[in-house]
Every structure is written in structure tokens, then in C-alpha cells.
């Protein structure tokens, strides 16, 4: 042991700062969060140094999990919120990917003013999200929004886009898709450009039609990039808070798991830290399970390149 330390102290000393930072910023809060889920901690019983009040929360075992998983309305209707979260996540990522890939394919071919198109298409990404979100809120405004005015002149019905209906979920998804496409487009464009040109020529010589070339050269060539961006996209979208919250606020029709955890943590009669933490831990577990299955599926497909 002593000899080991003498030999390797330098390496350990170099790693130590990172270990401390990760420990303080990640591991400790994670452990504390998990502990909170097993208590009834809330605003009323947390230690409050200002009021000189000691902590009085109690250990309640798995009670929080039982409440949440029961799907009770007073605990955020977990199961229906989960379904909405999944629709939101996979709907957004699907359209991010498909639209992003389509634009990347278009922009990858030699067209005039390609540079200009690229800049314009990346723009949504460069604008701070809250500005885009407010711009979209104006577009979607049921009375003054340009969308409804357009629909009205065409004599079409003018729905309340961001009201208390599932249309609100549709609207926030549209906004998020618009926001997320540039990232997909840029990464997929990079992927497209890394596919050797000769592969397309070889496929052409082999008699492949444009669609067959897309299926047999482009898609396999993009596989490693696609698998990464889809994985990232799912995780980000699953946990995407600001678009929904800034657009629709605390609308139960746009509620996903993270927005509910936020609501529970920061608002309500008593700020319920225990239930919010329980949601956090459940979100983390769901994502871990997803990543595990996803990676296994990817490996089975043989991530070659």
C-alpha cells in the first residue's frame, strides 16, 4: 500500500481536483436527493436558519414512491404524465431527426447560395431560446397572433392554441421542433460530409437508384452520428423544461415529468421537496433504462465504421 502510494501519488494528486468537483457538484446532491425521496421533507419542516428552526422532517420509507406511482391526481397523475412525456419526447425527436436529415440532404448538394441557407437554417439555434419562445407565443396568440389572423382570412377556424386542451401540447411541440432542427441538421450535415464520395459512385456503378443509394450508403454511413444525436435528443427533450414552462406555464395539458417536478418544488401551498425529488429520481431511472436498452439495440445492429 505504501509502495503503491509512493509510486502513484502524482497520478492521484492530478485526479483529485476532478474527483472533488464531481463529488461536490454531482455525487453529493444525487445522494441527498435520493435520501429526500425517503422522507417527508417540505418547506414547513426543512431546517431554517433564519427562523432558527431545526429540521423536523421524518423518514417515511417508500411512501413517496407509492403515492407517485399510484398515479393519483394529487401527486401529478404520474402515468398519464409519463405517457404525455413520451409523446412529447419521441414526437419531438422524430421530427427533429426527419426534418434535420431532410434539410441536411438538401443543403449538402451543390446549390447556389448554399452558405446563406446554412446560416439561415442555423439561426433558430443561435437566438436565445426564451426570445424564440416569446416570439412563438405571439404567433400562437389566439386573438392577435399572425397564425390565427391568417386562418381567419382564409375563413378557417381559429383555435386557442395554447389553451387548456391537447392542442397546447401540439403547439409546444411545434415550437420545440423548430428550435431543435438546426442542431440535428448541423450534426447530420457533418455526418453526410464524412461519407466518402466513392461509395456513392460505387453504388451507382452497382446499379443502385437514388433511393437505394440513400438506404444503402447514406443511412448506414450516418448510423454512428444518428445513434448519438438521437440518444442525446431523447435525453435532452425528456428533460426539456424551459420551452414548455415559458410557453404554457403550469398548464396540465403540457405537463411533463420535469415540469411537474419543478411545480412541486417551487410552487403550491407547501413546497414539496420530497415528491419533487421522487420525480427526479424516477426520471433518472427511466433515462438510465432507456440508455441501457438503446445501447444494447445499437450494439446488436453492429455499430460499424
Amino acid at each position: 500500500m505504501r509502495a503503491f502510494l509512493v509510486r502513484h501519488w502524482y497520478a492521484y494528486a492530478m485526479v483529485l481536483p476532478v474527483v472533488i468537483v464531481v463529488g461536490v457538484l454531482v455525487l453529493f446532491p444525487l445522494a441527498q436527493g435520493i435520501y429526500f425521496t425517503l422522507t417527508n421533507i417540505n418547506e414547513a419542516n426543512i431546517a431554517n436558519p433564519v427562523l432558527d428552526r431545526p429540521a423536523s422532517y421524518e423518514f417515511v420509507g417508500l411512501q413517496n414512491y407509492l403515492h407517485v406511482l399510484s398515479g393519483s391526481e394529487s401527486y401529478g397523475a404520474f402515468w398519464s404524465t409519463l405517457v404525455r412525456t413520451l409523446i412529447w419526447t419521441f414526437g419531438c425527436v422524430f421530427f427533429h431527426y426527419v426534418v434535420g436529415l431532410g434539410l441536411a440532404l438538401l443543403i449538402n448538394r451543390p446549390v447556389r447560395m448554399r452558405g446563406l441557407y446554412r446560416v439561415l437554417l442555423i439561426l433558430p439555434w443561435a437566438v436565445p431560446p426564451f426570445i424564440s419562445v416569446f416570439a412563438w407565443r405571439y404567433l400562437f396568440n389566439s386573438q392577435y397572433g399572425i397564425l390565427n389572423q391568417g386562418l381567419a382570412t382564409l375563413g378557417l377556424p381559429t383555435p386557442v392554441w395554447l389553451g387548456q386542451s391537447d392542442l397546447a401540447l401540439f403547439s409546444v411541440m411545434v415550437i420545440n421542433i423548430w428550435l431543435g432542427v438546426p442542431f440535428m441538421m448541423v450534426t447530420l450535415l457533418g455526418g453526410l460530409q464524412s461519407i466518402p464520395h466513392e461509395l456513392y459512385e460505387a453504388a451507382e456503378m452497382d446499379g443502385a437508384s437514388p433511393w437505394q443509394r440513400f438506404r444503402n450508403v447514406t443511412l448506414p454511413g450516418l448510423r454512428s452520428v444518428s445513434s448519438t444525436v438521437i440518444l442525446l435528443g431523447v435525453i435532452w427533450t425528456f428533460n426539456l423544461f424551459h420551452v414548455i414552462y415559458l410557453t404554457a406555464g403550469q398548464n396540465p395539458h403540457t405537463r411533463i415529468l420535469v415540469t411537474y417536478a419543478f411545480e412541486r418544488f417551487f410552487s403550491g401551498a407547501t413546497r414539496d421537496y420530497a415528491v419533487a425529488s421522487t420525480y427526479g429520481v424516477l426520471i433518472l431511472s427511466l433515462l438510465l433504462v432507456f440508455v441501457m436498452f438503446y445501447r444494447r439495440a445499437m450494439r446488436r445492429q453492429g455499430e460499424v465504421w
Binding site: 466518402p196 466513392e198 461509395l199 459512385e201 460505387a202 453504388a203 451507382e204 456503378m205 452497382d206 446499379g207 443502385a208 437505394q212 444503402n216 450508403v217 448506414p220 454511413g221 448510423r223 453492429g302 460499424v304 465504421w305
Partner: protein, 371 residues
Amino acid sequence: MAEVAYVNASRVFPGNPPVRAVDNLELAVADGEFLVLVGPSGSGKSTALRMLAGLEDVDEGTISIGGRDVTNVPPKGRDIAMVFQSYALYPHMTVAENMGFALKLRGVPRTRIKEKVGEAARMLDLEKFLDRKPKALSGGQRQRVAMGRAIVREPSVFLMDEPLSNLDAKLRVETRANIAALQQRLGTTTIYVTHDQVEAMTMGHRVAVLKDGVLQQCASPRELYERPANAFVAGFIGSPAMNLKTVPLTGEGAQLDGVVVPLPREVLDAVAAERLTEITFGVRPESLRLVGADEGDAVGRAFELTVELVEELGADAYVYGSARVGDRPERFIVRVDGRTPPAFGQRVRVAVRDLDEVHVFHPETGERLSG
């Protein structure tokens, strides 16, 4: 099986001024022939091949395969297979899938594809690797897969674009022989592009030399070596390169450092007709020899060389030395017996082995003047 013909085919890349990458190429390849397109980089050899493949437009003229005009036919309809320099194997497919891909697209039944792929794999010694992905193969194996992919299709023409340039020297020599043997066996018309004149000479039935998009000469390797049509071909074919020097003329021949190399009558006539006072004089390193001190009768035919560098290759040695031509020094290369090379700084006397091996070119146009 088919013959191939380029008729005044040109490829012009837009630009200012436009670049004529292939300029009025007129070339006929017989059925079953192995034709090598050779030239320095930028000579248009790859472009010429890609025009035949349908990967590059034909801006002027036509191209036909098997008597059929394919100028505007897409690659798919030309019945050709191509081996790329980078091999262009599909990375996500196994060797067998790579080789059978074209057949699969054509809708050939699976059992038949398997049979054909198996056959080609046996021919190329790839049977052990059929289930591997290209990245798990060595360079030489990948090259063979690329060949296999072409063979499986049984096309009427094989196109090969520098297929050996990514292999190491030893493997290249081996594969060179294998490809030539395979072509012999299959009897498929083959067009092969290379920048390596050794490949060109050893593999081709005929060799077409290109420069700046213009065909310089198309002939058998022997013919190219013995009677190059111009100074460019003379300098390009043969290693080390031919000694090409501009030398003054006298009544009987070429003036070299106090020696007159006699030239045949018809050359002198041709020169006289053009009223030239200088010619481009060419003699290959192997057409020169060292003259021993005892060879008294060589006096008057041998010129003097100061040795500047000796490259010993074992069997041969290349002697680089300078001689006076007119009033300036010129460097000559002489190929000598590797056992008794001269030393650096030594002054040696050099003579032309056989006057038939002297080449004379026009000093400005580079055209061949000797018969």
C-alpha cells in the same frame, strides 16, 4: 465482352479559362484487350476512365461500348464494373454482401448470388473472409474484395482506377501479376489507369500515354519503349528516365563534348528539311556504356563524364555524371554493371551502345524525327 471506343471525346471543366481535362480523345480498345491509361497526375487519365464509367459527362464526342453509343447512358446501363483506388467497399456490409450487392439490386435470386460470390471468392482466395466486414481486412484483402465485386457482375468491361496505389511495394508487385493473370483468364476487356509506368509496361497489352488531356501515343509496351512518338513519352516511359538533351548539330550528327554521335541519313534529311541547328537528343541510361581504357578504337566516339552520384541497386548501378554539351554542363545517367561501379568524382568515358538506340526529337514540338 465488348470493344470500347472513344470518338473525339472531350471533358471540359467550366472555369476561366475552361479546362479541357480530356481533349479530343480518339482511342479504340479491342474486345478482350488490357489497355493501360498512364500519365502524370493531372493528365486526364482518371477523367477519361470516369467518362467511360458514366461518372463524368462527355462534353464533346461520343463513347461506345460493344458498338453501342453510351454517351448519354447512366452508369447503371453500361454493363461495366469499376475498381476504385480507395476500393469504396460498403463498410456496413460483409465481404459477401459487398460482392453480391449489384446482383441483389438486379433481383438475382439469393441462391444464385451465393453461388456467384462463392465462385469469385474461390478465385480470389477470399473464402475465409466472406463473413467479415471490410474494416477487419488487410489492405491486400480489401483490394481483392473490390476485384471480386467487379468480377461477380460479369460485366463486359472492367474499369480500374489505380487499384494498387494503396498497397505496399511488395504486395503491389504480387497483385499486379494476379490481376494480369485474372484478366487473361476471364478475357474481359479491361481499362486500367495508373501513374506508375512500371505497372503500365508490365500489365498492358497496349499502353496509352496521356499528357494534359491529350493522347500522346497508344502502342504496345515494347513499341513505346523502342519508338516513343515524342520527347514526353520518351521521358515518361522507362526508369530511370531517358537522357534528353538539346544538342547542337553538325553535318554528320549530334555534337556532344567533342564527340559527334552519328545519326542516320533520314534523320539528317528530316533535320535539314526543317533547317534545325539543334535537336533533342535522347538516349536511355541502358543504351550507354562505360568505355574501358584499353578500348583504343572507342576514341572519337566516347564522351567524358564526371561522376557526381552513384546509386547502387545490386544488379545495376545508376551513374549520374555531367558532360559538356555545347558550352554548358548537362547531367547524364548511365546504367552500369552493379559489380564494378565507378567512384564519385572519377572521370569516365561513355559511349552509345548501338546507334539504333538513339532517339531524335524536334527541339520545339518534341515530335520524333528518327525513324
